[in-house]
Each structure stands twice: as C-alpha cells, then as structure tokens.
C-alpha cells in the first residue's frame, strides 16, 4: 500500500470535508420541511365524558322482577347488535341477570333473606382494575384503556383463542361460534356487528361516552344504575359507595371490579 505523506494529507482533507457535509445537508432538509403541507390532527370529541376509572353502582334493592331487568338488556342488545341465539352454548351476553348465589358465590349462606333470594342480579363485565383477561390475551386485542380504565376489545385483532374467556372469573365474555348477523333482530346501522370467531363483551358503552352520553343501560334504568368516576371523590358513584354498604363480585380474587352492588 502506498502510504506516502501526500496520500495521508489527501485523506485528511477529504475527511474534514465530509465532516462539514452533515450540517449543510441538515440545513437543506429543514428547508424542505417548510414546503410540506400541514398535518392533520386527531383529537378527542369535545363532548366526550372522561374519568380516571369508570365505575357503576347497581342498586339491587330497586330490582324486583325480571320486568325491571328486561329493558336494560334490551337497550344494550339493540344498540350493540347483540345476537339472540337459542342454543345456550352459543349465547352472546353483554349484560344479563342471574341469581345471588351465582353472582356472589361464597357470599351466599345456606339460607338467605327472601328479598335477596328473589332479586334478579344484573351482571356484566366488571371492567376490573387488574383485569386477568388482558393479561391472558396473546394479541393485545383486549386491553385496559389508560385514559378511562375501560377494558375494551379490538375486534380487528381478536384471533378467537378464547384465553380471555378462560381467564375471566365472571363469565363476562362470549364467543361467536356462528356468524351473528342472521340472529340480530334489528340491526343498528351505527354500530358494527361482530363476525364468527371473535370474543365480545360489554364495553361500558365507550362509543356513547365518546359522544357525551351515559351507557345505554344506565340511561334506561331510571336511577337503578349509577355511573361515574371512581376516583373523583365528588362523583355520584363515590357518594353512593360512601353512604351505602356495597359488595363486589369475587373481590377475593384481587381483580378489583369496578361494578359495585348495593344489597
């Protein structure tokens, strides 16, 4: 190799030239940016309701018979295009009623007060603060939304593995074993349906909250259900929790459900 003095000097000159190239290029790049068209912006709806953690208080004393429950379930099912399948094993449930000893296993004594024995208990996804379904999901199709604590489903991403269903201790999730479309009585064109092979559940009406409306079941419940921010000490739900004795489903599991029941 030729390592004459001249060659080394040439190399040094070239390298110092290369060092000055970068700032020049940067200056050109900056100029180009100015000509770019302004970017579009994405922002939340101005009317949207916000909270740190949405929560619900269900006053079970105000539920007497199935007639009190039906309008709530009906409202939810029509808005969210929830299909009605006859086969119990294919059933899709977002919100439904059950007995005390099913809603609160471990809390039911051998003998119960008549009121509790006959009251229909409304159950749905508890939107846990520590949701086991989210941990089980291999595709992050289900996630806990940071902004308001709702446990949501991204149906686009669900691969139908049903790990979440196994993980949920409340049976709040249903799987579409069949194409749900033929089983929807009246389709609400504003909300998508689901397809065969995805899991679905209550979404705390995230799409309504985004437009400043309360969840459908709360709206038609005539005060039987209360909805609000669990971390706002002034909220209606906190007021009810403060002034009444409330229980939560399977609290001992540590999932921290956000649905409270006044018994």
């Amino acid at each position: 190799m030729d390592s004459s003095r001249r060659h080394v000097l040439q190399l040094l000159g070239l390298s110092s030239l290369a060092l000055t190239a970068r700032p020049v290029l940067n200056a050109f790049a900056k100029e180009a940016e100015h000509t770019e068209e302004p970017k579009a912006v994405i922002k939340p709806n101005k009317k949207a309701l916000t909270a740190k953690q949405w929560a619900m208080v269900i006053d079970t004393r105000k539920f007497e018979s199935a007639d009190d429950v039906e309008p709530l379930v009906e409202a939810c099912d029509t808005i969210h295009n929830v299909p009605h399948l006859k086969n119990k094993r294919h059933e899709i449930k977002w919100i439904w009623e059950t007995h005390y000893h099913n809603a609160f296993p471990g809390k039911a004594g051998q003998f119960l007060s008549e009121a509790v024995e006959h009251t229909p208990f409304i159950v749905m996804c508890n939107h846990c603060e520590n949701p086991p379904c989210v941990r089980a999901c291999p595709t992050k199709a289900t996630f806990k939304r940071e902004s308001d604590g709702i446990v949501l489903m991204d149906f686009h991403r669900c691969i139908g593995c049903r790990f979440c269903m196994a993980a949920c201790p409340f049976g709040a999730r249903s799987f579409n074993y069949r194409d749900p479309r033929p089983f929807i009585k009246e389709t609400n064109p504003k909300f998508p349906t689901r397809m065969k092979g995805v899991v679905e559940k209550c979404n705390f009406c995230a799409e309504r909250l985004a437009e400043g409306q309360l969840p459908a079941c709360v709206e038609v419940s005539e005060g039987k259900l209360t909805f609000g921010d669990l971390y706002d000490p002034e909220s209606e739900v906190r007021e009810l929790i403060r002034t009444h004795y409330t229980i939560r489903r399977k609290q001992v599991l540590g999932t921290e459900p956000s649905v409270y029941y006044i018994v």
Partner: protein, 129 residues
C-alpha cells in the same frame, strides 16, 4: 459443451413459460373502473383529504382512524384545512359514499383486494334505516 442445444432449448422454453402471462395478455388490459359518486359526495366536492391522497392512502388513513378510535377513543379528525370529521367508517365515510357497490367494490374488484371491513361494519347504513 455437448449439451448446448438442450441447455439453450430449456432456457428458451423456461423464458417463454415465465413470460407467458405478459405477452398473452398484451393489449388486453382491463379498463380501470369508472367510479360513481353519490349526489352527497358530489356536493361535498372534497373528501376528508384531497382526492389524490384518498386514492393512494385511504387504507392507511382508515388504519390510523381505527387505532385511534378503538385504542385511544379519540374520534375527531381535523384535516389540514381545519375541517372536523367524526372518525367512523360507517357513519362518516359511508354516509357520503353510500353506494358501496359502485364506489368501493368496483376498485377493490379491479385491484383484486378483498378487505374484510364488511364482515362487521354495516356496509350501507342508509339502506338499512
């Protein structure tokens, strides 16, 4: 090079077969589809973004909308000219382009793409109401 003729013969046959679709279909390209705009779309004149942008990037835009709405709950799109839109395929896009068969499908069929949007999203909100 005793097998010269076999080698070159084979290469020529291979080239003929490999390029068959190109010369067989030469001059027979299917004409690009004519898209029909609804009266509402014509009256609006511009879409969420410019026509060129929408033609080339609508899938990226919809993907962005989907992630924003589903994951973060941010549903308002402000386009570069400052106009606000509710980010919804069914309620915004298809409200204007309510003729999916003459608008979406024609191009998708031509390009042989099969988006699965309509497995869940209701394709013609106006027809159903």
């Amino acid at each position: 090079m005793k097998d010269k003729k076999y080698i070159f013969g084979g290469v020529i046959i291979f080239i003929l077969i490999a390029t068959f679709p190109f010369w067989y279909n030469q001059g027979k390209a299917a004409p690009p589809p004519e898209l029909e705009l609804t009266a509402a779309a014509k009256a609006a004149r511009v879409c969420v973004r410019s026509t060129e942008y929408m033609k080339a990037e609508h899938m990226q835009l919809l993907d962005l909308w989907r992630d924003s709405v589903v994951r973060r709950g941010d549903r308002t799109y402000v386009n570069p000219s400052g106009k606000e839109f509710n980010m919804s395929l069914t309620n915004t896009c298809l409200d204007c382009h309510s003729n999916k068969a003459q608008f979406c499908d024609r191009c998708h069929n031509y390009a042989s793409v099969d988006p699965y949007c309509w497995d869940c999203h209701i394709d013609n909100p106006k027809e159903n109401t």
